[in-house]
Amino acid sequence: MSPRFLPERDRDIYRDATAMSIGICIVGVSFGALATAAGLPWWIPVGMSLLTYAATSQFAMLAVVLAGGGLIAGLAAGVLVHLRHIPYGLAVGDLYWGRWWTRLLGTFMLIDQSTAFALAAGADRRRAKTAYWVTTTIMFVAWNAGTLIGVLAGGFIPDPDVFGLDAAFPALLIALVLPSLKDRDTLLAVLAGAAVAVATAPFLPTGLPVLVALLGLLATWPRRGRKAASE
């Protein structure tokens, strides 16, 4: 199924990333169409997707601006939902920290999916690097192509929810991190963190609950202490 020129050992990465990119493309179409339908000139959604490359931030800003909240409030919302990328950079930031241009580019390409794919590679550093770059490059193309199509399509706004794409994203993340949950400490932290995030989500501004989830790491502290003592 995969073209010949792709290295055999990483074919599954290309396949999975391509499958995923279809959904991202449709979400991009809805972003472009939504912005254009609201009367914004074409270069605004296109420029945002090209320069920001962060779907949730772009939608957050667009939603606030379209609701009449103003640019500053929109900007604040966009930045707030992006803060989760700080722990991402801490976790996978070494994978692209080579030459100056891979640092610049790798930083720009840091997204949920590239982080999750890189983490799913586990201790295999070579595979983690490949997974990071391949998924994020395919996503970048899909996201920007989608935005452009949405702008050109004009009035037609596809609703990603009709295709169940809002279920595809969490399912993807869960599937990718599932292997790392074999580690009991991680599992404990994840369950505690998810509970905290869901419990606080109705009260906190979007973007903060997933950061408050990091408190879940504390759930493993007593165990870690005991482990260290017994070692």
Binding site: M20, L75, H82, Y88, A168, L217
Partner: protein
């Protein structure tokens, strides 16, 4: 003009956020345990993101179709189904439930 400034500001803001984590990480030498904690931290955030976007839409209950689709995807992932199958099954379940009139 102000719109252009806002776009550039969002691009700069998101870039600086992306940069800060990586710069911090590459500045300090990590013990294997510290590295494990950082990786666990990213997993916690990714899973919290999955949990909140499964159960809640704009701070309120998302309805049954969305969590049902994610549950199907999770079960398939548990049985080691290929990722593409997991994602498509999750989306299809939710889409079909909505088509059947279940929110």
């Amino acid at each position: 003009m102000t719109m252009l400034a806002a776009i550039l500001a969002l691009a700069a803001g998101t870039y600086l956020i992306r940069l800060s984590g990586a710069v911090l990480r590459n500045r300090i030498t990590l013990t294997p345990r510290a590295e494990a904690v950082l990786k666990a931290g990213a997993v916690v955030v990714l899973l919290a993101l999955a949990a909140t976007s499964t159960l809640l839409v704009e701070g309120a209950w998302a309805g049954w179709a969305l969590p049902a689709g994610v549950l199907v995807g999770t079960a398939l992932a548990w049985r080691k189904a290929p990722l593409a199958v997991v994602v498509i099954a999750a989306a299809a379940t939710t889409a079909l439930l909505r088509l059947a009139g279940i929110a």
